[in-house]
């Protein structure tokens, strides 16, 4: 293992964590968006808020982690990606402002109008942000980013079939993960009707995401043949099969109402897709134009970065474990309350 391999592994691990944890939070926004009118959607919206409140900041910080490793570990590739894909990335960034602010502040809404506006902002941006991030990933893996220096076309680079497809897939995967996680949270909240509602959503979204993943193979075959080869041979194929197996296992676990283990298998299924994409294009960072080796910073920079990551892991793993344990045990849970708006002043005791 060289320093480049290790930093690549750290970067892929970071993207995977963000795709799973951040993705689930975006997915929650998708369910908020599709929950129906103010009255009908009130209970599921309440569950979503209760589930996300203590963890969304920590989940979001994975994005910062990814950016930092990206620009420190692979500065030239970072420069080119940013110079090419600035349109989707800027839109995602603006979406993040709207989403974060609307979520943090919706609890303070005083009127039904305010609550609706904030809720809609949160939900809509929760769908747009993963789409643009997905499209960015799609553009990179399908070889749309040219060799440094400079950048490629700001529009054509991410509006090819693969980019748009990965964008849609990102939204679907988030929705799927989120439904599985929410079903488990509904059990903890002891709300039988919500357990069923989330279970139905998890099954439906699982089926859709699975079909999309399979159908996508054909999109990629026509649009990005190199990526297709990577995903259908060797290690890439093994990872793809692993993802499919974990996905099927999740469907069965959810069907059987075993949401605890399903949480992990669904995360595995989604994580494997990210790992699969990375494996498929290895040893290239930008397919066909820039290898990981050439994109990487010098060893003088990578080694201190790796040391920092090890120190970070020593601090973060116990801290994250503590947070997730408190969360899953329900210690940080607030009282379950549907979001019906106009109920301010009764804001729950935290």
């Amino acid at each position: 293992m060289t320093a480049v391999d290790l930093v690549t592994a750290v970067l892929v691990a970071g993207i995977t964590a963000y795709a799973v944890l951040g993705g689930a939070d975006f997915g929650a926004g998708f369910w908020d968006l599709t929950a129906g009118g103010a009255r009908r959607g009130a209970r599921i919206r309440g569950l979503i808020k209760r589930s996300m409140s203590p963890v969304w900041e920590a989940n979001h910080v994975w994005l910062i982690f990814v950016l930092v490793i990206f620009w420190t570990g692979f500065p030239t590739a970072f420069g080119t990606v940013m110079s090419t894909l600035y349109v989707p990335l800027f839109l995602a960034a603006v979406g993040i402002i709207f989403r974060g602010a609307a979520f943090a502040l919706r609890g303070e809404a005083a009127t039904i109008g305010e609550a609706r506006a904030l809720g809609a902002t949160f939900a809509l941006s929760s769908v747009l942000v993963p789409f643009f991030f997905g499209a960015t990933v799609g553009a990179i893996v399908s070889g749309q980013v040219p060799a440094p220096p400079g950048g490629g076309d700001p529009w054509d680079s991410w509006t090819n079939e693969t980019s748009l497809y990965v964008g849609v897939l990102a939204v679907a995967l988030g929705a799927y993960l989120s439904a599985v996680f929410l079903a488990g949270d509904a059990v903890r909240a002891e709300q039988p009707d919500l357990i069923e509602a989330c279970r139905r959503r998890a099954l439906g979204a699982g089926a859709v995401a699975g079909l999309l993943a399979i159908g996508g193979i054909f999109v990629i075959r026509d649009d990005a043949p190199d990526l297709y080869d990577g995903l259908t041979s060797g290690l890439g194929l093994a990872v793809v099969i692993g993802s499919a197996a974990a996905g099927l296992l999740t469907l069965w676990l959810v069907w059987d109402r075993r949401f605890g283990p399903a949480r992990f298998t669904s995360a595995l299924a989604v994580g494997a897709i990210i790992v699969g994409l990375a494996v498929a294009q290895s040893p290239d960072f930008l397919p066909g134009v820039l290898t990981l080796q050439d994109a990487a910073a010098s060893e003088d920079a990578l080694v201190p970065l790796l040391v920092a990551v090890v120190i970070a892991a020593a601090i973060l793993i116990p801290a994250l474990t503590y947070l997730f344990r408190l969360t899953l045990r329900g210690t940080l849970d607030t009282e379950f309350r549907p979001i019906v708006a106009a109920d301010r002043g009764k804001e729950e005791e935290r």
Partner: protein, 455 residues
């Protein structure tokens, strides 16, 4: 790297970008939105934890009420800070890709460490705020400590990068612009790092102290003077008053460091055209078209301030070619605003501390409380003006004497569109946050039982 005419200065070529100024303003806008939140991130957890400790020590419920209520504000501000901080990370790449591509590996380590502390902060902010009444009091207090440490550490790392931009070390550069011999630790602990960190750290306490005190000074004027409001006024006001006094000393230190390492920037502070022995200092006034109008000129004072020697020679702007000079008007006027706002707050702080020391009570004049209310916005002015001073004073360099801002900028089209979109977004965000914080302030205070059961 203190010389200004090293050949490496031309190692990079300018990017074709008609909207460099707009790109800079877009970055400045995002920083301007984020920095006040950083102030709260740096100091508010410490203040809150201090209140919780007071409660644990004295058993008085009022301190717990304060800590709990403020921790909710802290959570909102942290959440908004998370998103505005994310925007900044994106902009580093979106607006300055050439800078990142060439130097990302040099200063990236600091950002990696900053990312870690941000992460730890996010984890414990959640545990702390949602853990009230759920965790044992002692455990709860302990979960607050990482927030204090990481709030400081995060700012520390980001400022290390800014210090590096002003005082770049830890790499060599070839005449073709290749960055070699990277030493990230040397870059991290550059010469500018210490005074910038301490100056910003104190600013954190000044800003959040005066803003929070201003909220309760308003209540005080409206006649709400119970134990809760009294404590909630005295604690931040004392913190801010002490911090602003220390800040004057740090300001002097920072000024001397700039004089030594960035003489051109110092010349811009004062609008000093020519290199001068025993240079005079003009207090106040407005700089328009190469001249300061108004203000009081004190002979030898600039030499005395910059080098602690009235006969010292201060380098003027003319020591470097015009294309290497910063826009003096902006720098000078921002500097004046910072100095005036800082001095006014220091007077207020000293008055408060004096009354407290001699009479052990709060001042009685209503004007005092009005001044405290004013000190909140004033502290923000000083903060932003201070950053404008140092960052516009850094121009035209993004990496001082090494890479120009015009070499670092993106070649992307549509910067004005992005700028307008972001400005509108932030305007909306600011409006919503202000409305909601005001509303939070109007909520009834939670009652605390004197002896609350451990959860």
């Amino acid at each position: 790297m203190t010389g200004s005419l090293l050949p490496i200065a031309d190692a990079f070529t300018a990017v074709d970008q008609s909207y460099l100024l707009e790109a800079r303003q877009m970055q400045a806008l995002s920083l301007g939105v984020h920095i006040p939140l950083v102030c709260f991130g740096i100091s508010f957890p410490a203040i809150i934890l201090f209140c919780e400790a007071l409660h644990m020590r004295t058993g008085k419920p009022v301190y717990r009420q304060i800590a709990k209520r403020w921790s909710k504000v802290m959570l909102i501000l942290f959440a908004v800070g998370v998103v505005t901080g994310t925007i900044l990370s994106f902009e580093l790449g979106l607006l300055w890709p050439e800078w990142m591509a060439n130097f990302g590996e040099v200063f990236g380590l600091a950002f990696a460490l900053e990312g870690v502390s941000f992460f730890v902060e996010a984890i414990f902010v959640a545990i702390y705020v949602y853990g009230w009444d759920r965790l044992k009091p002692r455990t709860h207090f302990l979960t607050g400590i990482p927030i204090v440490i990481t709030g400081f550490a995060g700012a520390f790392m980001v400022i290390a990068v800014n210090g590096w931009m002003n005082n770049p070390t830890g790499f060599d550069i070839s005449s073709s612009g290749q960055v070699t011999n990277v030493d990230p630790l040397a870059a991290l602990f550059n010469d500018f790092f210490w005074h910038e960190v301490m100056h910003m750290y104190m600013a954190g306490f000044v800003v959040s102290g005066f803003i929070v005190a201003g909220v309760y000074a308003t209540a005080w004027l409206r006649g709400r003077r119970d134990a809760y409001h009294r404590a909630a006024l005295i604690i931040p006001l004392t913190v801010a008053s002490l911090a602003i006094c220390v800040q004057l000393l740090y300001g002097d230190w920072a000024g001397r460091e700039v004089a030594e390492h960035q003489p051109t920037k110092l010349a811009a502070f004062e609008g000093l055209e020519q290199t001068t022995k025993s240079a005079s200092f003009t207090l106040g006034g407005v700089y328009v078209d190469d001249k300061i109008y108004g203000g009081i000129t004190i002979p030898d004072m600039l030499s005395l301030l910059a080098f602690h020697d009235p006969n010292a020679t201060v380098q003027g702007l003319d020591a470097v070619p015009e294309r290497d000079q910063p826009p003096v008007g902006v720098v000078r006027n921002a500097f004046t605003v910072m100095v005036f706002a800082g001095s006014a707050m220091a007077l207020l702080g000293l008055l408060y501390l004096f009354v407290w020391w001699r009479k052990a009570r709060l001042p009685r004049s209503r004007w005092f409380y009005r001044a405290v209310i004013l000190a909140g916005p004033l502290s923000l002015c000083a903060l932003i003006a201070g950053w404008i001073t140092t960052e516009v004073g850094r121009q035209p360099w993004i990496v001082y004497d090494v890479m120009r801002t015009e070499d670092a900028v993106t070649g992307a089209e549509g910067i004005p569109v992005g700028y307008a979109a972001l400005a509108l977004t932030y305007l909306g965000l600011a409006t919503i946050v202000l409305v909601l914080l005001r509303r939070l302030a109007r909520q009834p205070i939670e009652r605390e039982l004197p002896e609350e059961a451990a959860a």
